[in-house]
Structures are given as C-alpha cells and as structure tokens.
C-alpha cells in the first residue's frame, strides 16, 4: 500500500510529462485572450435549443463532406433556425427568423465579421464561411423596440 505523498509525487510527475508532451498551443492561449473582445453586454443571448449533431450520429456534419446540420436558437419571442452545409473547407449558412422580420445579421467568426440582411420572410444566407466557431448577432431593430440578440457560439 502506498501513501498519499507517493500518489501526489507520481501525479506531479505525470503532470510535468503532460506539460512537456502536450502543452496548450500558444495560438490557442492567444485565442482565449482574444475571446474577451467578443463579449456583448447590450444584447440578449439566444440559447441553443436544438442541434441535429447532439445525439443523431447519422445527421453529423463531417468536415469536408456534403451534409446538413440543423440548429435552433431561442430568445424571448424569437426563434432562429439555421442550416449549415459543408462544401470542402467552407460552410454555407441558411437561416430564418421566426416570426419573420427584416434586420441586419452580423456573423461573427474567428477572423472577423460577415454582415448580411434578412429578407421580408426573415431569411438570410451566408456563403463561404470559414469552419470554426461562429455566433450570429441580429439587430437591434429600434422600430420594434427590440434590443440586439446574439446566439451562443457554436462550431461549424
């Protein structure tokens, strides 16, 4: 039987080995620092309520393959449906706001922001998005007295 100090020493040895073999990549630490600049304080958060990837293996969006993934986000009185398709390394987003409304859509990704607009049916499309984390920001639409809405970040 070994006592607690032996366990602590062995765990520490493993920790040192892991730190040398599998260190946190510097570029990811920088990405974590940069993530702070994306925080929004003036917008309502739309939470992810459905993801076809969560639980349905056959619906999986596989990198580089042509398959679709369905996502749904909900804020108070607003549902955001998004379909993601992959074409090679790029992603195409097709979305719709329910109830429909015309508004600006800022698609935030790791290299910047792509701005599109919804049509009268609340639909929007964004092509050639880079794979990786994205978050969508809608509005604000002052005419309807609605503050901006941002979705949770999701990997596409």
């Amino acid at each position: 039987m070994h006592d607690e100090p032996d366990d602590a020493r062995l765990e520490e040895e493993l920790r040192e080995l892991a730190a040398r073999l599998e260190p946190v990549p510097d570029r990811l630490v920088q990405a974590a620092l940069d993530a702070y600049a994306w925080r929004t304080i003036d917008a309502e958060l739309a939470e992810l309520t459905f993801d076809s990837l969560a639980g349905h293996e056959e619906a999986a969006l596989v990198r580089g393959q042509q398959q679709e993934r369905l996502l749904s986000f909900r804020a108070s009185g607003l549902t955001i449906e998004v379909e993601v398709t992959a074409a090679g390394p790029a992603r195409r987003l097709i979305g719709q706001l329910v109830p429909p409304q015309r508004t600006e859509v800022k698609i935030r990704h790791q290299d910047g922001v792509v701005t599109v607009a919804t049509d009268e049916f609340g639909r929007f499309v964004a092509d050639r998005m880079p794979a990786g984390p994205v978050s969508l920001r809608f509005g604000p639409t002052p005419g309807e007295g609605r503050s901006a809405v941002v979705t949770e970040w999701i990997p596409i």
């Binding site: 070994h2 993801d51 990198r63 990786g132 990997p155």
Partner: protein
C-alpha cells in the same frame, strides 16, 4: 496549495472583475483554466482541429456568459462542463478517422523527422511512464489526463469534466495510480 474555498473566492472575484471589463482579470482566468480545458480535449482524445474548436468555443462561451453566471465561484466547473459537452459533440461529429497522437508520431517517423514527443521520450523514465499510462484502462487514462492539467484542477472541476460525483474522484485516482505503479514495477 490554496484551499478550495480560497480558489472559489478568487475565481468569483476574477469573474466579477472581468464582467466589469477588467482585461487583467480575464487574462488571469485564461491562465488559471486553459490547462484544464486543454486537458479535457486531450482526455477525450480529440484530433487537433476538434481540440482547437472545443478550446475556443469554451472561452467564447465564457466571454458571452461572464456577466450572467449564476455561480461565479464555480466558473472552473462551468468551463469543464462546457468543454466536456463540446468535446462529446465533436467526437460524435467526427465520423472521419481521427488523427490520434500515435498517428502523429507515425507520420513524423514516415517523414524521417522527430516529433517533440519523441525528443521528450528519449528520456528512459519519461518513455516508461508515458507507455505505462497509455496502457491503463480507458477510464483511468481519462481521469488521470484531467488531473494532469497545469495548474492542478480541483476535484470539483475534474468531476464536472467527467460528469461524475465529486466523491468518486479520490478513490478512482488512488486505484488508477496504483495500477500505474504496478505497470512500472
């Protein structure tokens, strides 16, 4: 080492300060918890692209939730839970063949080069220890890889990364370290 209560108080202070716009507090959170989140991606054996996505998404989620956390003192467990869920989602999504650590070593050998891993493993003890670790049962590798985070995570954070009761961590750790010691003997 600080007590769990001290860690919780410090974490809550950092979250509150970061929510007010304090860059230095955010940086301190990144320094405290990046090792834990990275360990979740290693413990769940994600390929490098998925690991990068999970790591980034976890921090972006915290940035979005920083002023909305119900329990800022439990931010470490919140991050571990978020990283675990995203890691499991990524595993399901990757129907493609995952490039494992072993594959990376193999590729480097094929190319005639030496990976950083091989350079470290030229030390005999390091080589023995890593090999022994890799032959442990999957649940032991999972738990120990989380505990191997720098700085060391709390059992509460490890339990959140595993979705297991906190009380199970200590006994499982003791069993797994005993197994590892037997393999090294």
């Amino acid at each position: 080492m600080p007590t769990d209560a001290e860690r919780s108080r410090r974490a809550a202070d950092l979250v509150t300060a970061a929510a007010r716009g304090d860059d230095a507090a955010w940086k301190a959170l990144v320094e405290q918890f990046s090792g834990l989140i990275w360990s979740v991606t290693r413990a769940y054996r994600l390929g490098s692209a998925d690991a990068a996505d999970v790591f980034q998404i976890t921090w972006l989620r915290l940035a979005e939730h920083i002023g909305r956390l119900d329990h800022p003192e439990h931010v470490g467990a919140w991050l571990a839970t978020t990283a675990r869920r995203e890691a499991l989602r990524a595993s399901r999504a990757s129907a493609r063949v995952v490039l494992t650590d072993e594959d990376a070593v193999f590729d480097a050998q094929e190319a005639g080069g030496e990976t950083p891993e091989q350079a470290v493993l030229r030390s005999e003890r390091a080589d023995q220890l890593w090999r022994a670790f890799r032959t442990l049962p999957a649940r032991c590798q999972l738990l120990l890889r989380l505990l191997m985070a720098t700085p060391p995570p709390s059992y509460t954070e490890v339990a959140a990364a595993l979705d297991r009761p906190v009380g199970s961590i200590g006994p499982t750790r003791a069993r797994c370290l005993r197994l590892l010691r037997e393999k090294l003997a």
